[in-house]
């Protein structure tokens, strides 16, 4: 459900950026989405279909780049990519870690004319 307001924010951001850069038709929106966020790309696509008519995003496609969850272990100093958000160093089992990536949700770029 919260993806509706999130997709509205996405559309607003793209519109502002398109206007600022004199893009009248956005063809593609490149989005970086971390694996450790509460956002579903399918839901975002669903709401985007509803929100894009009659705007500069009418013909736009959403392209998602998935960003893995990467942690730094403060004990063994190793950096690891983990498959699910169990935030434990897979090498030494230590839970005192720093989250390096996985929480991203941003528009990388827009393409259009």
């Amino acid at each position: 459900m919260h993806e509706l307001s999130v997709t509205e924010s996405l559309v607003d951001l793209c519109r502002r950026e398109a206007e600022k850069n004199s893009i009248r038709k956005v063809k593609r929106v490149n989005i970086a989405l971390g694996r450790f966020t509460g956002f579903s790309r399918d839901s975002i696509r669903f709401y985007f279909e509803i929100l894009r008519p009659n705007s500069c995003l009418e013909e736009a496609k959403l392209k998602f780049r998935e960003i893995p969850i990467i942690i730094d272990c403060k004990k063994c100093r190793e950096q690891s990519e983990i498959g699910e958000p169990i935030l434990i160093c897979p090498r030494c089992g230590n839970a005192d870690i720093e989250l390096r990536s996985g929480r991203e949700f941003y528009v990388e770029s827009i393409e259009g004319e």
Binding site: H2, L10, L87
Partner: protein, 222 residues
Amino acid sequence: MKKIDVLKPVLVSNKERALQNRKLFDRMNSLVINVIASPGAGKTSVICRIVEHLRPRCRILVIEGDIRGQIDSQRLKKLKVDVIQINTETACHLDAYMIAQALPRTKKKYDLVLVENVGNLVCPAEFEIGEDYKLAILSTPEGDDKPYKYPLLFHLARVVIINKVDLLSYTDFDVDRAIVQLRKQNSRVRVFVVSAKTGEGMKAAGDFISNDINARKKKVRN
């Protein structure tokens, strides 16, 4: 066809508004806690206990987020604290804009602002409102697997309160297992095991928040 680098978070406007709220809270000199839990976990009961414990020493504002109704705010008003009720109508979480609109336009100062978010373990975790930290509540009837199933909230929370320990014998909830799981997702989390119904364990949780209020004031003074 041209390509423009944007590199801005999608929730940039919420983030900016949360920062503005933060400045306002700083002017009010308040510690702000975003209380998040599922419906029925005992958010209002825990808040009532915290208010009872801290009211003699602190000025407290409670912001109540509910989809509809005034039930929670009426309950809190009986404790003689200032309460603002936000009805989100359909939205499953509070966002920074709702808080900005609801904040009182008085010059009143509060030591503590407790924000009770809409009952939900997913969405509220993603929307900053200008808080100092998130406090998550997990109640025993929900099951000790919730930190595993809802990792983001339990990763972000500075404090987790395990509530309804008075019901422990009626459930399969294993407190040790829950704490082990919590630590796997958040090694720095502070856990309190309480019953808001009987008051068990609530003094320790209240004292912890009281320390945070004092630490914050000290930081501001320096």
